[in-house]
């Protein structure tokens, strides 16, 4: 067989290895290596070994994932969230979460298929499923299907990437017997589903890359589109999927650079065809999918629910039964309104009390009437909103209204309040206008004091004019509404905005909050809402009318809003969690996460990888990088250590796996949010693959046999030498033994004594429960 593959001259359809059909070749290889004296049975076994190995992986994966999947019959760790979200889908109630919807919708789909109605809300870890009538076993079984698929996928990726059966099997078995993947793989959690799509993308891309000498063929398009679809799915499960996209993106850049090379004989037109088809499949398709999943998400969640409050009022009012829609109506000039601070929830209050002449720090006040923030709404909390234009007509309008005259709708509509209107606010109880002036506020000396001004004081009337800005309004015709509009009151003369903060005034302020003028009106804390119009009740007729009138948000507007909130809240997940950890500690597995405990029976589930497996994979990564540096260093001096074909396979396939590990791990170092051990799971799978890659390089000879294969072949087998088989057996045996040893805390199915717990505390960081 030709070892010196003339890849330069490769043109579509001229596959030199194709001279032998894959099957024949396979037969030839295996009979060669088995030797003349071997029996036909062994030969047969070797020939079919790939299928046997694959089946073995499936069966073992099934056993490890589904072993007593009904145990424990309680809510475990993040099932709190993802079970709850599934219930919300089934109830069609709107919720908010930082992750994209696909994985959660898939969980819900399982629930829907088995007829679960979403009545249970998974409020606390340890709640009982049985007594609450939740078909949790079916739900777990459904999600575990994705977990079940991981080891077979690993096998397929390795087999397609030019590794022997024994190396592919090694990778798959290491993944099968990893405790963290098993624990995570049998509960109602997102990571399984995400990792499934991640591996599926990688598998599709490998298949696609193998079609490189048959571009634009049916197979080529199939696997290219499949890569795009899977990438779309993985990023729709968790934004971590972006790392997988980066992985494929970098591989594509290298591939395009290869195609671009003039020595490959492609025309520029061909290059652009390659470029555009990849851009379409790997950018456009995932984007469309990502958007579609959100469209489905929003189409399902049409009812008001716990997620309302995260959104703008416009968004909320589109949800069926939104409480906001029922309390939102136009404000008219002359209305008595109560104004409430968005962040601290106090009402703008003015009692006839005055500011003391001298404060404790010897500063002097205006001794004006206090304007403060009160927790409770009283008669002092109402302000009459007055326009600055058409004041005569307004006076007549008010007079007629007070006389109890019926006012037509059209006329009433002339007195609605708009964005950027100039207004005055007259305190209903004392009849003076709200004012701010250049006197330092009692507790915040850099801000301006708020007080009131008698109506007949015209000299300072400019202090009492406010520009009313509605947050997020784009045009001056936006109407001021109760509840749903957030407003800023910016003094027209001084440019300061009404603001308050949670500090309480001293005794003379009755424990109210200080209200003053903030010089930066754009701050979030200057937002207020109008919660009530005195004496105004909504009529059934109005509710109906409003439902008709509701200005719809387009899907894209909703999507942009939701996406922005997701990113914002994801970055804000900084509250310290007792089980969070730093990325640096993950590969060394210095600490796990307590998922669930049962004190009575001394059972627990503790997320922990297979320590030996993880440490061995660290060694493999280290060995690979050291080897890479050595190859490069010799290569720079034009010395070839391993032969060009092996070298290319190491760089291409090994490099791909190593980069996959890197890109799924290192970005976490730059994240500000709280991080957890399970964020390393995607990378850990690639680390296991690295073990197999190193194994193949060191123990499987001749290496070329596997790296040089036609596009259609699968993993091929040699009867391994005794030493190779021994190393394989030892690696797998250690992995299985460690897995079994830690299984009680991975499954949480058996009671452990204190000694048993302590014997599993290999590192001081393993803070298992029931150590005493």
């Amino acid at each position: 067989m030709s070892v010196d593959e003339p890849q330069l001259k490769r043109r579509p359809g001229k596959d030199t290895v194709g001279a032998l059909s894959p099957d024949k070749q396979l037969h030839q290889d295996s009979s060669n290596s088995v030797g003349a004296g071997s029996r036909a049975g062994v030969s047969e076994l070797v020939r079919n070994s790939s299928s046997y190995a694959f089946m073995a992986v499936v069966v073992l994966s099934f056993i490890t994932r589904y072993y007593r999947i009904w145990d424990p019959a309680q809510v475990v760790f993040d099932e709190v969230h993802f079970g709850k979200f599934a219930s919300y889908y089934l109830r069609r109630e709107y919720y908010f979460d930082v992750h994209p919807p696909l994985a959660k919708m898939l969980i819900a789909l399982g629930g829907w298929l088995i007829g679960y109605d979403g009545h249970f809300l998974f409020e606390k870890i340890g709640m009982d499923y049985m007594s609450n009538g939740v078909p949790y076993m079916m739900l777990r079984g459904w999600v575990a299907l994705f977990g079940l698929a991981l080891p077979p996928l690993v096998y397929m990726i390795m087999a397609e990437s030019g590794y022997s059966v024994i190396a592919s099997l090694l990778a798959a078995l290491l993944v099968t017997f990893d405790n963290a993947l098993v624990t995570q793989g049998r509960l109602i959690l997102l990571d399984n589903i995400m990792i499934f799509f991640m591996l599926a993308s990688v598998y599709s891309y490998v298949k696609f890359f193998k079609q490189r000498y048959h571009p634009f063929g049916v197979q080529w398009w199939t696997w290219l589109l499949s890569t795009g679809v899977m990438l779309g799915c993985v990023v729709s499960c968790k934004l971590v999927g972006l790392f997988t996209i980066a992985l494929v993106g970098v591989a594509v850049i290298f591939d395009l650079r290869r195609i671009l090379d003039i020595r490959r004989g492609n025309t520029m037109l061909e290059f652009w065809q390659h470029f555009v088809s990849r851009a379409f499949a790997l950018i456009a398709v995932p984007v469309v999918l990502y958007l579609s999943f959100f469209a489905i998400h929003l189409a399902i969640l049409t009812r008001t629910g716990p997620g309302d409050a995260y959104h703008t009022s416009q968004f909320q009012m589109q949800l069926i039964d939104s409480p906001l829609a029922k309390s939102s109506f136009d404000v008219h000039y002359g209305d008595q309104i109560a104004i409430r601070h968005r962040e601290t929830g106090v009402f703008v209050d003015s009692n006839s009390g005055r500011y003391p002449l001298r404060y404790e720090d010897q500063r002097v006040s205006s001794q004006g009437q206090q304007v403060t923030g009160a927790k409770d709404k009283t008669d002092n909390s109402f302000w009459i909103i007055k326009p600055m234009v058409n004041q005569e007509a307004f006076a007549q309008f008010v007079a007629r209204r007070q006389a109890g005259e019926e006012i037509s709708k059209d006329e009433l509509n002339k007195w609605v309040v708009h964005h950027t209107d100039l207004v005055q606010l007259q305190h209903a109880a004392t009849g003076s206008n709200m004012r701010t002036h250049d006197v330092a506020s009692p507790m915040t000396s850099t801000n301006m004091e708020f007080t009131t001004l008698a109506l007949n004081d015209t000299a300072h009337a400019a202090d009492t004019v406010w520009k009313l800005e509605i947050d997020g309004a784009k045009s001056n015709s936006t109407l001021l509404k109760t509840s749903s509009s957030f407003i800023r009151l910016v003094n027209n003369k001084h440019g300061v905005a009404m603001w308050t903060h949670p500090k309480k005034l001293p005794e003379w302020g009755h424990g109210h909050q200080e209200i003053n003028g903030k010089k930066d009106p754009t701050a979030k804390s200057t937002l207020w809402a109008i919660t009530e119009i005195r004496g105004r009740q909504i009529t059934a007729e109005e509710v109906e009318e409003m439902a008709k009138k509701q200005s719809g948000m387009s899907f894209l507007e909703k999507f942009v809003e939701l996406q922005g909130l997701m990113i914002k809240h994801n970055n804000a997940l900084t509250t310290v969690h007792p089980f969070q950890s730093t990325p640096l500690s993950w590969p060394f597995l210095t600490r796990g996460i307590s998922f669930w405990t049962d004190a009575a029976q001394r059972k627990q589930i503790y997320l922990l990888g297979n320590p030996i497996g993880w440490w061995v994979s660290n060694l493999a990564l280290l060995a690979f990088f050291a080897g890479l540096v050595m190859l490069e260093a010799y290569g720079m001096r034009d010395i070839d250590l391993v032969g060009s074909i092996v070298r290319r396979h190491i760089l291409r396939s090994g490099g791909f796996i190593a980069f996959a590990w890197f890109i799924h791990y290192f970005p976490f170092f730059m994240m500000g949010r709280s991080l957890f051990l399970h964020h390393y799971l995607p990378a850990s799978i690639f680390a296991y693959m690295m073990v197999a890659a190193c194994f193949q390089f060191i123990f499987v000879h001749p290496y070329q046999l596997f790296t040089l294969r036609s596009w259609s072949s699968r993993a091929r087998a040699l009867l391994p030498s005794y030493s190779t088989g021994l190393v394989f057996a030892v690696l797998v045996a250690i992995q299985v033994a460690t897995f079994v040893f830690f299984a009680p805390i991975s499954y949480g199915t058996s009671t452990l004594t204190a000694e048993q717990v302590n014997s599993r505390r290999w590192l001081p960081g393993y803070d298992l429960h029931f150590q005493k």
Partner: protein, 743 residues
């Protein structure tokens, strides 16, 4: 790609022949298409011409001096950070009292020296308001402006080293002169000006070094190598931003050494190269850097505002420090302030507030300020000892002691029943119980770790003895790891009892900072303490890093001074250099020359695209684009300029601390030279004749000078109504005559 690499190899050492002669042993990906390497001619090296270059440099220097010095003493107001760098820190140096700051000392020392030269050391300048009428602040301003003036000739020289045409070299000098931001920052006493100068000097030297690479170990080669090292040392002693220049030179050196490796440079030659670079680029700068700190420590020999940031042994050596004189040997009944050896953990402290959870006993925290709540009395176990009349008894290694909080008479206590509030793996430490009670949970064993003193006898001595306190009942160690408590603990440090038996961890080590015992005579501590420069140096750096990271922006604060890094290259938020902006005030505005800023930003974005474009052309086999050596030139000059820009700009995105627009100035200097380089590149690659090229250069020069003059009132100070400067607000975000927060 390949042939460029080969060309580079050929030109560096000229040994390309070895690889082509032995095709058998060579690993070649594409053997059939290997192109023969034809040239290794260096690309039109500039030669120093004394009359032309000398006069051009003189001209640039004079023009630059005019712009930097014109009416420099006009405003007698302490402007912007002059309050720190012209008054506060020089005050400290002049009266020699120890202070703490985030910046290394060199630039501040230079400024203090110039203030000393003109004004002596007999007064302090208040850091607010105006300079005293008899104080010659103009002198110091002129002194720092010298660094700003040096920037223009350096730019010219650098471009000359980068083998640009003289026309464009001159243009580089003009660009530097005509940038309003560089100009206005040079006119005040700030650290940025020396920093910029030394950064520019580094670039100039490394460019000169690159230019002499064919003449390794010649005097000129040594000269530029040593100058590079010297300026690296100086720049990093001004501000830590100088480390980006170190990174640039480091990367350059790595590339050079790798090339030598690929070129089969003989090992002995390679080792000589390596050794020379280690000596000049690592040892020399480090020596300069450390020397600047040695001077810093030597000058500041009195107690001052920064004492508390340094370990007690350091403080004990400062004149006038409270730690200078105190009783040396700790006796039972002594009252102690115990300091944790962990930086930032502070003194063992307690106050009459309770823990909100856990045992709800009295809090014990770490507090960094001196306070009577830090006083603990060391007591024996049991009540049979009279601390005022019984004979004095030394506290020894291995003794079991109790510590009583003096103000509340509560005992230092720990217990297994409760976890520490934040470090939940540790036990809670509280102050609990009365001295008369017998409670084994109050008992701690003294374990001496180290005695840094001339007297080592197993007794506890003030300041010099490091020891652990081991809780007898639970066998845990009293520990302070600089973990902050939530608001209920007033954000002081958490004190816990650590179950880890890490005997060397600084968190578990304590030292007696102050020792009060009226029955023991006080002694001068200075002969007793041993202190090494290196340990002071390291400790100071830990503290500097901590306070640097603590400069966290408060997003809710009303502030028009800070700006985010993304906005700098686009000149979105220039900065007012004065708080008061009324008619009659001399108003300085830190706005760059928009033409230079915007076009140079464009070039910084363009350069990588150009590299990619040329790479693709090569991959497509489009040959004949380059004159001999031109491609190498494009890479060699461009990598230094673009790399310098990227290294001085991008790291700011990763910084959590507050950032200001003048943090961009070093990067801007690189961007300006890159802009010049691109103009040079354009002139060479286009078919323009030398006259048209001159026309291009003239138009560029006139353009930037015109814009400079247009913004000159803001650079040289504007006294009239700001409304006069109407058409100078080119972006709506600028706050020249309108505060962006005003309505």
């Amino acid at each position: 790609m390949n042939s460029r690499k080969d060309a580079k190899r050929g030109s560096v050492v000229g040994k390309k022949a070895t690889s082509t002669q032995e095709p058998q042993s060579k690993f070649v990906a594409y053997p059939l298409l290997q192109e023969p390497v034809t040239t290794s001619v260096p690309y039109q090296r500039n030669k120093w011409n004394p009359s032309i270059d000398g006069s051009l440099i003189l001209l640039l220097t004079m023009v630059c001096a005019f712009t930097r010095l014109y009416r420099i003493g006009r405003s007698n107001r302490i402007s912007w950070d002059e309050s720190f760098f012209h008054s506060r820190f020089p005050n400290q140096y002049l009266n020699r009292s120890y202070y703490h700051d985030v910046h290394p000392p060199l630039a501040k020392l230079l400024i203090s020296l110039s203030r000393f030269a003109v004004d002596g050391n007999n007064r302090t300048i208040e850091p607010k308001g105006n300079y005293p009428p008899d104080f010659n602040y103009t002198f110091t301003r002129c002194f720092t402006a010298l660094f700003g003036i040096g920037l223009a000739p350096l730019a010219y020289l650098t471009c000359l080293h980068l083998n640009m045409k003289r026309k464009t070299c001159f243009l580089a000098g003009l660009f530097v002169i005509a940038d309003n931001a560089l100009c206005v920052m040079s006119r005040f006493v700030l650290l940025d000006t020396p920093l910029l100068f030394f950064t520019a000097a580094t670039l100039c030297s490394i460019a000169g070094f690159q230019n002499t690479r064919h003449y390794a170990f010649s005097p000129a080669w040594w000269q530029w190598l040593l100058l590079t090292g010297l300026s690296l040392g100086l720049v990093s002693s001004c501000k830590w931003v100088g480390l980006f220049a170190v990174a640039l030179v480091g990367l350059y050196t790595v590339e050079e050494l790798l090339n030598m490796y690929t070129d089969f440079t003989p090992v002995t030659t390679a080792l000589r190269h390596f050794g020379a670079r280690v000596a000049a680029l690592i040892v020399l700068p480090l020596a300069i850097y450390m020397a600047s700190f040695a001077v810093h420590f030597a000058v500041l020999n009195r107690s001052g505002s920064g004492d508390a940031t340094m370990p007690p042994a350091f403080q004990a050596r400062l004149h006038g420090s409270k730690l200078n004189h105190q009783p040396f040997t700790v006796m039972y009944g002594s009252v102690l302030d115990l300091r944790s050896m962990h930086p930032g953990s502070g003194l063992l402290h307690s106050h009459p507030h309770k823990y909100p959870d856990g045992s709800q006993q009295q809090q014990v925290t770490g507090y960094s300020h001196s306070d009577s709540n830090n006083n603990w009395m060391v007591m024996r176990v049991g009540n049979g000892f009279n601390y005022t009349s019984d004979p004095l008894l030394q506290v020894k290694d291995g003794d079991t002691v109790r510590l009583m909080h003096k103000r509340t008479s509560a005992m230092l206590h720990s217990h297994r029943a409760h976890k520490a509030p934040v470090s939940t793996g540790n036990y809670e430490v509280t102050a609990y119980g009365k001295p008369e009670w017998s409670d084994t949970n109050n008992e701690w064993r003294i374990e001496i770790h180290k005695e840094d003193s001339s007297v080592t006898n197993g007794e506890i001595h003030a300041i010099t003895t490091q020891f652990r306190l081991r809780h007898i009942v639970t066998n845990c160690l009293l520990s302070a790891a600089a973990v902050k408590l939530p608001p209920w603990g007033f954000r002081q440090t958490e004190i816990s009892c650590s179950r880890s038996q890490d005997l060397r961890s600084a968190a578990n080590l304590w030292v007696v900072e102050r020792h009060i015992n009226s029955r023991v005579p006080s002694v001068d501590m200075r002969p007793m303490v041993k202190m090494s420069f290196i340990s002071n140096f390291i400790r100071l750096h830990l503290e500097m890093a901590r306070s640097n990271n603590a400069l966290i922006p408060d997003r809710d604060k009303y502030n028009h001074l800070e700006s985010d890094p993304w906005s700098w290259p686009f000149l979105v938020y220039p900065m007012r250099m004065l708080g008061s902006w009324n008619k009659g005030d001399i108003k300085y505005y830190e706005v760059g020359n928009p033409l230079i800023w915007w076009v140079s930003t464009l070039m910084c974005l363009l350069y990588p695209l150009q590299l990619a474009y040329y790479h693709v052309r090569k991959a497509r086999g489009i040959s004949g684009v380059w004159a001999p050596g031109e491609e190498l030139h494009f890479w060699n000059a461009g990598k230094l300029l673009w790399g310098g820009w990227a290294l001085h700009y991008l790291p700011f995105f990763a910084m959590g601390r507050v950032t200001y627009i003048h943090h961009y100035l070093p990067a801007l200097y690189f961007a300006i030279l890159l802009l010049t380089f691109e103009i040079d590149h354009f002139c060479r690659r286009s078919t323009l004749g030398s006259r048209s090229q001159a026309a291009v250069v003239t138009i560029c020069a006139i353009g930037v000078l015109a814009v400079f003059c247009w913004f000159a009132p803001l650079t040289f100070g504007h006294t009239g109504s700001i409304g006069d400067l109407k058409y100078r607000q080119w972006l709506p975000t600028w706050n020249i005559y309108r505060d962006k927060y005003a309505m």
